[in-house]
């Protein structure tokens, strides 16, 4: 995932984004156009919630008024009351609130692509489900391609249009949730999505969601 925004330079092969080889772009400019949310969140502890969310719009030199309006809009979007949260510091946030702010920061400048590395890893199942719902809503509203890394197969099945199963750094299966559940093709993939019974249950749910 980190090869897409050039935090890691691939030893072989190339990464293209909207048809452009990312290696040909200035890394900082490239990254400002790609949302980035990670499991550790990485909010800046010396900045308020509003300042954290405003980071990329400010790097892109948006006007002050535009930035302020966008911050409020984003906080509302991730279900945090702007009036209550704007001036808080990250240390005053719960894990779930911090991850919401992390997502808001990642999508602040309406990126064409969004990289998410287990962004909901540090929260309980209930908060996670609501963050997943919000992400689906946001991704549809922004029409943004999301590259999402997770170890949670149900999270993958729930969020993804296409799933790529990786093992030891190689792709072992790629397809829609329904395709993969119907025909895992590989013992590792089969085991990953559970025994026959739970895979059948997941397939049912995926078909319902797809229709």
């Amino acid at each position: 995932m980190r090869t897409v925004n050039r935090l890691v330079v691939p030893t072989a092969g190339r990464v293209t984004l909207d048809g452009v080889d990312v290696a040909s772009m200035d890394p900082a400019i490239l990254r400002r156009g790609i949302g980035y949310a990670i499991q550790a969140v990485g909010l800046f502890p010396h900045m308020t919630v509003a300042q954290n969310v405003a980071v990329v719009p400010e790097l892109l030199d948006w006007g002050k008024a535009d930035v302020a309006a966008r911050v409020d809009e984003l906080l509302a979007l991730v279900d945090l009351d702007p009036a209550r949260y704007r001036a808080r510091y990250p240390r005053d946030l719960s894990g779930g609130e911090a991850q919401r702010v992390g997502v808001a920061r990642a999508i602040a400048a309406r990126p064409h692509a969004l990289l998410m590395d287990e962004p909901f890893g540090a929260v309980d199942a209930i908060v996670r489900a609501s963050l997943q719902d919000e992400l689906l809503k946001i991704a549809r509203a922004l029409d943004t391609t999301v590259l999402f890394v997770t170890h949670d197969v149900d999270e993958a099945l729930r969020l993804a249009d296409r799933i790529v199963v990786m093992r030891d750094g190689s792709i072992v299966r790629e397809g829609t949730p329904v395709e993969i559940l119907e025909d895992p093709r590989d013992d590792y993939v089969r085991a990953l999505f559970g025994d026959d019974e739970s895979r059948a249950f997941r397939l049912q749910r995926a078909r319902r969601a797809a229709s």
Binding site: L7, R31, R32, A40, V41, G42, H46, T48, V55, Y89
Partner: protein, 205 residues
């Protein structure tokens, strides 16, 4: 105490010179230590030998260092400036390195991933987060410099040490007490002010 009260004007003048000497040395010391610290924080291979060398400088007796510097720079302000700034390097650089290394890795990764250039990440994320630790180094260095700067009088650079050396020469303990008390008071004040600055810099964390 009687000297201090009877010659308050002169003591204040020497105290002012003392403060100026320390401030000038501190400014030079910080201007040198900050880039050195950034370099060392980014290159662990540089950090160990650099801190070792600066630590060695730190152990040279101040009077000996001053004597050597006088041979090259003559008497007066300059050898004292270099000696003070040189002594401060160890503490200052060490704290810049510690401060930068203490910045949460996730914050640095996020800064790069969101599109900060290296310089922007340093200025807007890493240095502000390292600031409380760096100010801790400035505080310790300043207190030490105020004490060491009393030796300035020995090479003709003035300051509160003048009173101490006069006291030694004339066997007037009163002058020694006056010079020492003022230097101590300066150190205590500087310590308190820089502690407050550290707390201010750590606000919100």
């Amino acid at each position: 105490m009687t000297y201090l009260l009877a010659h308050a004007g002169r003591v204040a003048q020497l105290g002012g010179a003392h403060v100026l000497l320390v401030l000038a040395a501190l400014a030079v010391a910080c201007a040198v230590a900050l880039p050195l610290g950034i370099l060392a924080a980014r290159n662990p291979r540089v950090a160990t030998p650099l801190l070792g060398a600066l630590g060695a400088v730190y152990t040279i007796p101040s009077l000996a260092l001053l004597a050597v510097l006088v041979r090259f720079l003559g008497l007066g302000f300059w050898p004292v400036l270099v000696a003070l700034a040189g002594y401060a390097q160890f503490v200052l650089v060490r704290n810049v390195v510690a401060g930068l290394r203490g910045v949460p890795a996730a914050a640095v990764d996020a800064a790069r991933g969101l599109g900060f250039t290296g310089a922007q990440s340093l200025r807007r994320v890493e240095l502000p987060l390292a600031l409380p630790t760096m100010l801790g180094g400035v505080r310790v260095a300043t207190v030490a410099m105020i004490a060491i700067a009393t030796l300035a009088a020995y090479v003709g650079a003035g300051g509160l040490g003048t009173l101490i050396f006069e006291g030694l020469a004339y066997r007037q303990n009163d002058r020694i007490v006056a010079g020492s008390l003022c230097a101590m008071a300066l150190a205590v004040l500087a310590d308190a002010a820089l502690r407050a600055a550290e707390r201010g810099a750590a606000r919100g964390r």
